[in-house]
Symmetry: C2
Subunit: 463 residues, 2 copies
């Protein structure tokens, strides 16, 4: 059906060159390949041309030029998405926003910041350090904030601070017809009409190009304490998480690594953690508040079989402790060198989490595959990391089967097929099972805002 | 243009009676009048018929019957909206959901609850008391939770716990064609497509009828402390709020009452608070945590001129202290008996709050009107309460002029025309100034989901 889209022909390229100049446009194979590739196992799908936009007005002009010819537009940030979000399935123009990397305004009194979409999360936090403020959302990659908006990213701090859904105050968006709109004012709350901000958060480039982002910030805590604790079984670990949250303890991070992942970390980093389900914890607050949280959580975990507590308070000690968690992906890959790591992503109500993980682990065992588990368990969100040889069709098929069963299991538990990675092309096949008739509402919204289906076609709900 | 809608004629009424039975349908003038009236100054606009629905399936059948004839459908809860949300501007059927008042499931481990839309916030919290959980959103009225979803309600606890925007996990909605959809799963977070939940939160009955609501809950705090503190000037009070929030103090409530409001409260309740800008505060946490918060906020307020602190810890003392705040509306009306109280509602970035309130107070003074101010200042949200004689056109015109200037002032400060009351018919005239071209996106969404414009026509963006 790709004949419904126009071609990025010489005339369009000439027009784009007139907008951005010759140096910020590329048709080289290497640049195109890079812009059709993300961190997932999905086949790269290079666009016909890549433009490096420098302003909202340029993006608007680019989109208008493409819209006039019905040529697909695919926004591009760091290329660290995990479900094939950036592939140019029907050709078209990749709009790279990484040169739009200015921090436009820090409003310290209002605890918010406005940035261009190419600012990365680490860049933002380095910039903010002297203000005493920080932005907490931390997906694994040092992703662009525009991309994090587009995929509704979260990470390890979401249990306390929320995800991109909660922390975006306003967006500037270039619509599929090139018009520039702002989705909301900078006020903390509003009841003035439909929530366009939340409509664009998680829209994965299918409704427009995000060109400015206003985010809520938080004060850097006076005191931070990190901890690691091991459990003889998964139920004890998950029950500790549930009780911690029910007790109203404002824990900042609570991450689960299973025994396979802990073994990988021990091997990779030369550590000697017990090879057991393990929680990595972090507490933020005043000194006294953190001390109190630590005591409460220590008691909860102890009652449920937790042992081998390790605590770290100084920055370097905390960094060392968390390094093991941050290295989880590398440690996985080192378990089976030369293989590809495929990260899956489901999220269930926390009461079903232990059951969901245990049934999934049995599936992994039966499949003969190697797949450590890490999870943002305070939110009920976890990932398998399949270590597979992508050239081995049998292995890939078994991984796909385990993943499909895990997703259907999560859905049966009133969970979702993706907690934070997004739909891209990889999760499209599960949306009917997850949303039923509500999918037709999503389709209607897509058709209303992008009637010619030029924005990142082939993703989420569009053919 | 109302000839584009069908009439609620005898044939439709007969069909509706077949769905709900004779006892849950009324065409009496009194019932119709009540269902066309809210708490605002807007002219009542009675529907042609009122049906009292008992289930999602009944709502679906009712909407299908109306859709077949293009007859407007107006969802109705407690009728406590403040901008004319429930008026049947083009006739039609009021669907009263107050008999759908069952609490369907409390998931204590997941800290969520699923309710029918006619459950009120107080009913829910009474039901939850023994579970140790509560739902924090508290608009002034004991509103229905369906209505609170529809208007994106908030209230005094929003600064800590968030608004309906943050706290709705999932909705069941009857679409304008009668189909029943669920907007999301019960998982805490999801990246699986467009955020339909947030699209329906704040949609004011214009996109469908909400028939089930799943909400996040919180643990009842171990310790609660309330306080009142007076300031010689507004700047001191607002600066105390800013500094409290910047310091990361997780204050649960921080409410501002101006000197006019405090005078009204003193007169109404026989109290002797200083007639000065005053903050009402509440702290939630562990005993030690609350003590620490209290010390920090006392120091902040003291540095900025706060005095006459009063503290209350026991439930009855806290209730007594907050009673003055809860009675604010009655105290206002008693200032000028026989008049109507018209509540306005803007929200600005907190850095602009003092300036916005002070300029507005000057306007009130110049107008010769009486209009106390109360505000959820932690969010930058405040209300004037005009005490006017609705039969006096000159007074009404002056009140409208002050309100219009206040809204435009808030917009100029990057604020919004409504922080929590919603658009209804009263705020429609400001939406172009607030949203610009983004309004066309809202219109496109409305047209896509409700192409015949039968859902609560004439509200938000629909003609």
């Amino acid at each position: 059906m790709s004949d419904k889209w126009g071609k990025a022909d010489d005339a369009l390229i000439q027009e784009l060159r007139a907008i951005v100049g010759g140096e910020r446009l590329s048709t080289s194979a290497a640049v195109r390949e890079q812009h059709g590739t993300d961190l997932s196992y999905h086949e790269p799908q290079p666009p016909d041309v890549v433009v490096f936009a420098a302003s909202t007005e340029e993006v608007s002009a680019i989109v208008k030029a493409c819209a006039a010819r019905r040529v697909p537009v695919i926004p591009f940030g760091t290329g660290t998405s995990l479900e094939g979000h950036v592939g140019a399935l029907h050709g078209g123009v990749s709009v790279d926003v990484m040169q739009m990397n200015q921090i436009l305004a820090v409003n310290a009194e209002d605890m918010d910041v406005t940035v261009q979409p190419g600012v990365t999360r680490k860049q933002l936090n380095e910039y903010l350090r002297d203000t005493g403020l920080f932005f907490p959302v931390d997906p694994g990659a040092d992703a662009s904030l525009g991309g994090m908006v587009a995929t509704r990213a979260s990470g390890t701090n979401a249990v306390r601070y929320g995800t991109m859904r909660e922390l975006v105050l306003s967006l500037t968006v270039v619509l599929p017809d090139g018009r520039i709109v702002r989705t909301a004012r900078r006020a903390r709350k509003s009841a003035a009409g439909y929530d366009l901000t939340r409509l664009f958060v998680g829209s994965e480039g299918t409704l427009g190009v995000i060109t400015e982002v206003t985010l809520r910030l938080f004060g850097i805590p006076e005191s931070i304490m990190s901890a690691v604790v091991s459990f003889p079984d998964l139920e004890g670990a998950v029950s500790s998480v549930i009780l911690t949250i029910q007790s109203g303890i404002p824990i900042a991070r609570i991450e689960l690594l299973d025994e396979v992942q802990m073994d990988a970390i021990n091997r990779y980093s030369g550590l000697d953690y017990p090879v057991q389900p393990t929680l990595f914890l972090e507490f933020h607050g005043t000194q006294a508040g953190v001390r109190e949280q630590v005591e409460m959580v220590e008691a909860i975990c102890g009652d449920l079989g937790g042992s081998h507590f390790q605590w770290a308070e100084k920055l370097e000690d905390r960094n060392k402790l968390w390094q093991a968690r941050h290295d989880a992906a590398y440690a996985c890959m080192a378990l089976r060198p030369g293989t590809k790591a495929i990260a899956t992503d489901v999220c269930v109500p926390i009461s079903r989490l232990a059951e969901c993980i245990l049934e999934t682990k049995k599936d992994i065992q039966d499949s003969g595959l190697l797949a450590p588990i890490v999870g943002h368990v305070g939110d009920g969100n976890f990932h398998l990391v399949f270590l597979v040889d992508p050239e081995n069709p049998d292995e890939m098929a078994r991984a796909t089967a385990v993943n499909d069963r895990m997703v259907m299991r999560a859905l049966a538990m009133d969970g979702t097929c993706t907690g934070e990675h997004g739909v891209g092309v990889g999760k499209m096949k599960f949306l009917t099972a997850e949303h039923g008739d509500a999918l037709s509402v999503m389709r209607a919204v897509k058709a209303a805002i992008d009637p010619d289906n030029i924005m990142n076609p082939g993703k989420i709900v569009s053919a």
